[in-house]
């Protein structure tokens, strides 16, 4: 029996041709990336001092411009600041998206939230962050591994929102200490831990035998076993960085580098989204939020980033994982090319850069252009939803997909269009 299509009308055809070319592209790459390492430069890095250098300025004279001279890279016509020389040599495997923008007020919390969720905060629903969405769509590639890990402190913007806690992240704040909740405290010896776990198991067995089978306590019981397995098994071992060669660990640098190394190991073991925070501000006090005197030590941060990023790219390549691992380097906003009263920089969301590497993208060194002061975008603006759409597409997740919160369909991005030039 021929079922008629009740709802379609003939107007639909006309609508299709009117849309711009970018909208129509919904292609998933043939070999999508399998994981994403999302490096977060907390505080918002100045693009003119990193990825989008302009003419030299002078902080003391308050002449707008880059604080450091630029150098050539492996991609002709593309330059970066001199402190990123290692990354410069690997730029053929990267694309610096220089035309990212958002209109959220230039306040840290709001901008961090927007960069992670792609939507302004609403009172009706809590939107999930990009990591939780990737976790929800792809899930860990291996049993017993989490799909989403944060190397840094817990944060509200990075959570799973309406998707539910099971798509949230596990986290580690100190790579030497291991994942929070899964490593026994250093003051408790292994022998002591074994002794008490044994006694606990005996107590648990008694309970399991005496309570009815639908008791929700049993659900918790199951989760206890999973947690123990993770503490003792593969998951926990991923964090043992001393299993890597000393020389390799040294190439990565300090704690931030170790977080990147940990991210590589997690990628190998099937974690899909790892956010690595560069938030330890021992070098210059302010971190990337280089107001006032914070600017003075900024080059130390950039060097730290350069060392770790280059090591990560090489390391992934050596493991033949670079094409299947998308690296994103972003902050909550950029900074103006002008200087403040004490030689530092304020915030700027109207134009800033996000760096992409690996992931099997059609890298072209740089995408999008800004004016001489990196204040206005001249070509190819990329909104935050567009950026997210690009990341999803690269990972093989259709950027037109819908999530559901009860009955409400919520598109995976707020009208974001992926950068088709990058997706093969």
């Amino acid at each position: 029996m021929n079922r008629r299509k009740f709802l379609k009308t003939s107007a639909s055809g006309a609508l299709m041709t009117a849309l711009p070319a970018r909208l129509r592209s919904n292609q998933i790459p043939k070999n999508p990336a399998q994981s994403c390492i999302f490096i977060w430069l907390g505080g918002g890095n100045a693009q003119v001092d990193t990825w989008d250098p302009k003419a030299l300025g002078d902080p003391l004279q308050r002449i707008a411009g880059s604080a450091y001279p630029a150098i050539d890279t492996a991609v002709e016509g593309v330059q970066v600041c001199e402190h990123l020389h290692r990354t410069a040599a690997r730029l053929d495997r990267m694309t610096l998206v220089r035309s990212v923008h958002h209109e959220v007020i230039n306040e840290h919390a709001a901008a961090v939230n927007f960069m992670h969720t792609g939507r302004p905060v609403s009172g009706t629903v809590v939107y999930p962050s990009i990591g939780a969405i990737v976790n929800h769509e792809l899930g860990a590639a291996e049993i017993g591994m989490p799909g989403y890990v944060v190397c840094g402190p817990p944060s509200n913007s990075r959570g799973a929102g309406f998707l539910g806690a099971k798509y949230g992240y596990l986290y580690v704040t100190d790579t030497a200490r291991g994942p929070v909740g899964f490593t026994r405290p250093p003051t408790v010896s292994e022998a002591r831990d074994l002794r008490r776990q044994k006694m606990l198991k005996s107590m648990r067995n008694e309970i399991v035998q005496t309570i009815p089978v639908e008791d929700p306590l049993l659900q918790y019981e199951t989760v206890m076993d999973t947690s123990l397995q993770m503490s003792r098994g593969g998951f926990s071992k991923v964090f043992q960085l001393d299993q890597e060669a000393d020389s390799l660990r040294q190439t990565y640098g300090g704690e931030f580098g170790h977080r990147c190394l940990l991210a590589r190991r997690l990628v190998q073991r099937g974690t899909r989204f790892i956010e690595v925070l560069h938030n330890l501000n021992f070098k210059n006090g302010t971190g990337w939020d280089t107001h006032r005197e914070g600017q003075q030590g900024q080059h130390l941060l950039i060097q730290e980033l350069d060392t770790a990023l280059a090591a990560l790219v090489d390391d992934l390549e050596n493991h033949k994982l670079l094409d299947s691992t998308l690296i994103v380097v972003a902050g909550e906003f950029g900074r103006p090319s002008s200087f403040d009263v004490a030689g530092g920089r304020g915030h700027q969301g109207s134009a800033f850069s996000v760096a992409l590497a690996g992931g099997g993208l059609n890298h072209c060194g740089a995408y999008g252009t800004t004016d001489d002061l990196s204040k206005k975008i001249l070509e190819d603006p990329v909104s935050v939803p567009d950026l997210h759409a690009t990341i999803y597409q690269a990972l093989g997740i259709e950027s037109s997909k819908k999530l559901f919160h009860n009955d409400r369909p919520i598109p995976i991005t707020n009208d974001g269009r992926p950068i088709t030039a990058l997706i093969s």
Binding site: A109, L200, P216, V223, S227, N279
Partner: protein, 970 residues
């Protein structure tokens, strides 16, 4: 605005003294000093002249002030003191013929007077910088007195008075950015000779307080609890002003209830004079159900398998909404079909049933459910089988058996957790067990309901339901003010609930002073009042309008206009629909001509008038005959008047659900299309609530005294069929877990001060100070989205981290009734391995466990005590053997030679050196990192016990908190 009304002066302890006049010191009792506060001064840098009467005054025992009592308005609403303020402390002290060194510590422009001479004065402390400042130099190790808080200054003066009584006055002028008037540490201390110990200056000379950390800490706590009593008195006083209004409303409400006919269906079946009306009404349904059991088929495919699928995936459109003219909520309706020419349901012929064709359609445009993920293969198979076998429509119910009553100790644990949020202590257990009176249970219920911890336990419930969502700093993410303090005070005072709702929706009290005004905020939200309308409707009326923010609700009868009308009432004026609260045009374009499930009726920019939108849905009474000059007040009245039966029922349902695990109506926040499982019982309790001054405790008392509540818990209720033969098995909430961990172990909950602005120089709207939390509800998320390590508060973070793992929301942007209850892997991990566990199980000098370990006589007695403390029961034989074996080794020689006895010490918070003002300095980062590391090692273990045995005892405690039983309510 002066908050002093007719009786301005409030005693610290009990009685009141007269109004403040020009010569206050003549009325100061012997051995005390007078503190006067003058607010709203003209200048924060010039000493005021011609001060009139003080705005507040009270009495202190010594020259040490750590905070001010809360300021309240005439209706008891919380307010800020108006900046700048002057604090004046005056007393007569007896001094000898010495040369003293006086120290005055203040945080503003200061003057210290001896008799009529100024002996010391100083300018205000420099305002703390915006983040780029530096840490102050390290404390002088030789100092004989504790360092001042950040933001204070010390002035030293040498004084040689004559012997005798002298008047001492300390004045401090305080005002910083905008509304900030920090009062943290104002004191005068003295030293008789160099290298002598220091003491606080006091009119009472016999037992001067030492000027050192422990004594100061104790004094500060005493002052805090005195002020809490003072605050209580002020609120009681204020309430007297409005008592006659509410009394008359409650009288009318009672008359209204008494005028109603008997509840339908209960005549001659229920004895309303008996104490257990609840049990009678529950029993009727259970008996009815059990009597009808025999008639059902053994295998019920429909109820168990097919119906849940229809209910979850189809009814939202094909229930009351009858999309396409089709209803699927009864067999008759399904057979009748809808507008389609094809038969929806043809029993035994799935291929001819349009229902089946649609759920298996390949084309997205044809497929059902519409605009959603398709049904799984298993689900399709179930429906196919069901249709094939005849599409019977039987709601099968099981035989309801009555569980046994809980044994005494299990009952005790449950009722303590349900009323005060922590299990009973061993002394409380002992007292109850040895109570031989026949009515001991109802006495216990009464005692627990007036316990101040009952208020603590309920704050978190209302925080969730009302979306209380404050920030630690710079609130920009849909944050509200910290109106938790208003909630807590309302619960402490057992404020009638109609009054509570009225104060809430009229936003009484300053937003950042913890008043209900904080409910009116949703920072950076495109329409805060629309937001609050959503909250109010779900909380008090069971009407869910979440979708109506941007368009008419697709599955409910409410429209966008309804939401905005309600929002306009809250706003007190017409409300505009913002651009961002509409569905973008591209959404409709992308439908490619399909009809949309949603419609957007309000154009952005439309101005919606205040109007009560629920007259049809809820109102059963004639139109009102009152006029209101303020739509918000009108809204309060519409919600809380006795004729609004829905309001009373929604509240009753909420309270019932909290004790029993499910409500009569589910979900508790969305009543549309959801019938009550026990309409008579719901009605009975609603009438009780309204006729008894809208007293929440009255409801609790009725429920907690029922026989049903005291039975062994059941594990699930089959879908729609709820019989409440006993409460559902529940696990502790995050807050209960935290509070129970600390109280079971007998470790005081002390963390860093929950603020990032230690000096208090910033506007309280930008940096909120949450004080030193004592109960879990007082915490707030520490995520500032800056992830700056130097802003870390390690102890606070530990607690918040545990709570997050257990479903506590760090950001409560939307109102909810049910938290996520699924267990997750972080939970056992955190309990097993966190620093919080070290903190709680560690036998430090601050722990009752150490006292217990020291005083107990045998391992057998110790094991009993441990089980009673943590699990409110005695160990069984097997557990006893295992635990005694663990603790026997080294028991007899466990005490070290360190001391003759163990004395529990008081934990004192350290002096904070890093604040917002200096946190971006490199040294601040290192300083905080060191603190974090120290904390993660766990508390310093007591040296009065040998290490090996001490660890065994710690492991015993570890076992008892890690066994799943700990976190599940009996």
């Amino acid at each position: 605005m002066k908050f002093r009304t007719t009786v301005p002066v409030i005693f610290l302890v009990v009685s009141l003294i007269g109004p403040a006049k020009a010569a206050p010191e003549s009325r100061i009792p012997q051995g005390q000093l007078l503190v006067e506060v003058f607010e709203g001064l003209e200048s924060k840098s010039e000493w005021p002249v011609n001060l009139g009467e003080s705005d507040a005054c009270f009495i202190l025992p010594s020259f040490a002030l750590f905070a001010l009592p809360q300021k309240y308005g005439p209706l008891g609403e919380r307010l800020h003191y108006q900046a700048p303020i002057l604090i004046r402390m005056t007393g007569r002290v007896n001094l000898g013929d010495h040369t003293y060194t006086f120290l005055d510590r203040t945080n503003g422009k200061s003057r210290l007077w001896l008799d009529d001479q100024i002996i010391s004065q100083g300018e205000a402390v420099t305002e703390s910088p915006n983040a780029h400042g530096h840490m102050r130099p390290a404390v002088n190790p030789e100092s004989l007195y504790p360092r001042g808080r950040l933001g204070t200054k010390d002035l030293l003066t040498s004084v040689s008075p004559t012997s005798g009584s002298h008047k001492v006055t300390l004045e401090c002028l305080i005002g910083y950015r905008n509304k900030s008037v920090p009062v943290h540490e104002l004191l005068v201390a003295f030293q008789k000779q160099q290298s002598d110990p220091w003491f606080l200056l006091s009119p009472e000379a016999e037992h001067p307080t030492s000027f050192e950390l422990l004594a100061l800490s104790k004094l500060k706590e005493n002052q805090k609890s005195s002020f809490e009593q003072l605050n209580q008195k002020q609120r009681d006083q204020a309430r007297k002003q409005v008592n006659s209004y509410w009394n008359s409303r409650h009288k009318k409400a009672k008359r209204y209830i008494n005028s109603l006919p008997l509840i339908e269906g209960t005549v001659s079946r229920i004895n309303f004079n008996s104490k257990n009306v609840i049990d009678q009404l529950l029993d009727i349904r259970i008996v009815e159900n059990n009597n009808s059991i025999g008639k059902h088929a053994a295998d019920n495919q429909f109820h168990e398998k097919a119906w849940p699928i229809l209910e979850e995936h189809c009814i939202r459109c094909h229930g009351k909404k009858a999309k396409g003219g089709l209803r699927l909520d009864s067999r008759q309706a399904a057979l009748a079909g809808g507008k389609s020419e094809f038969a929806t349901l043809v029993p035994r012929e799935p291929e001819r049933s349009e229902l089946f064709v649609r759920i298996t359609a390949e084309d997205e445009l044809d497929r059902m459910p519409f605009e959603a993920d398709p049904l799984t293969n298993e689900q399709i198979a179930v429906l196919k089988d069901w249709i094939q076998s005849g599409a019977e429509w039987d709601h099968f119910t099981e035989f309801v058996s009555i569980p046994k009553p809980l044994d005494e100790l299990s009952f005790l644990r449950r009722i303590y957790l349900d009323t005060v949020g922590v299990p009973p202590g061993t002394d409380e257990i002992e007292r109850y067990r040895s109570d031989r009176r026949r009515n001991k249970k109802s006495r216990l219920v009464n005692q627990l309901l007036i316990d101040p911890r009952h208020a603590d336990h309920w704050v978190s419930y209302w925080q969730d339901v009302l979306a209380e969502n404050p920030s630690l700093m710079k609130p920009t993410l849909n944050h509200s003010g910290p109106f938790r303090y208003w909630i807590h005070e309302s619960l402490l005072d057992n404020k009638p609930f109609d009054q509570f709702v009225t104060e809430l929706v009229t936003f009484q009290g300053e937003a950042y002073a913890g008043g209900a005004g904080g409910f009116g905020l949703a920072t950076d939200n495109d329409s805060p009042m629309a937001e609050k309308a959503h909250v109010v409707a779900t909380a008090f009326l069971g009407i869910e309008m979440k979708c109506a923010r941007c368009h008419d609700s697709p599955y409910h009868l409410t429209t966008q206009e309804d939401l905005f009308s309600l929002g306009a009432m809250l706003a007190g004026k017409p409300l505009q629909v913002p651009d961002t609260s509409t569905v973008p045009v591209t959404f409709f374009e992308r439908l490619n001509g399909r009809k949309s499930i949603i419609q957007s009726n309000l154009e952005p920019g439309t101005s919606v008038e205040p109007n009560w939108p629920f007259a049809e849905i809820i109102d059963e009474s004639p139109k009102k005959d009152m006029a209101f000059n303020n739509p918000a007040v009108e809204l309060a009245w519409e919600i809380t008047r006795p004729e609004n039966r829905r309001f009373a029922q929604v509240i009753v349902n909420r309270i019932w659900k909290r004790y029993f695990g499910k409500g009569f109506v589910e979900p508790a926040y969305d009543w549309e299309g959801n019938a009550a499982s026990h309409p008579e019982l719901l009605e009975y309790l609603a009438r009780e609530f309204v006729a008894n001054d809208y007293d929440l405790k009255h409801l609790s008392r009725l429920i907690l005294n029922s026989t049903a509540y005291a039975r062994t818990s059941i594990n699930h209720s089959t879908g729609d069929n709820r019989f409440f033969q006993a409460p559902l098995r529940r696990s502790m909430t995050a807050e209960q877990l935290v509070d129970s961990l600390f109280s079971s172990a007998g470790v005081p909950l002390f963390t860093e001060e929950l603020t990032l602005d230690v000096e208090g120089h910033w506007d309280p709207e930008i940096f909120v100070n949450y004080g030193f939390p004592k109960r879990a509800w007082e915490f707030v998320s520490t995520s500032t989205e800056r992830e700056r390590a130097s802003l870390t508060l390690p102890m606070v973070n530990e607690i918040v981290s545990l709570m997050r793992a257990y479903g506590w929301r760090p950001n409560r942007a939307e109102p909810i009734t049910d938290r996520e209850s699924e267990s997750n892997v972080m939970q056992p991990g955190v309990l097993a391995n966190s620093s919080l566990t070290l903190w709680v199980t560690g036998l430090s000098d601050y722990s009752d466990l150490t006292t217990l370990a020291w005083e107990i006589e045998s391992t057998e007695a110790l094991v009993d005590q441990l089980f009673l403390r943590f699990l409110t029961r005695l160990p069984n034989d097997h557990e006893k053997t295992e635990f005694m074996a663990l603790l026997e080794e080294g028991f007899d020689s466990r005490k070290t030679a360190m001391t003759d006895g163990f004395k529990k010490e008081k934990w004192i918070p350290g002096i904070r050196e890093v604040s917002w003002g200096n946190h971006l300095s490199v040294e601040a980062n290192f300083h905080v990192a060191a603190k974090v590391e120290t904390f993660q090692k766990g508390p310093e273990p007591t040296r009065t016990l040998k290490a090996d045995w001490r660890e065994r005892m710690e492991d015993a405690a570890w076992l008892l908190i890690n066994t799943p039983e700990f976190q599940f309510i009996p």
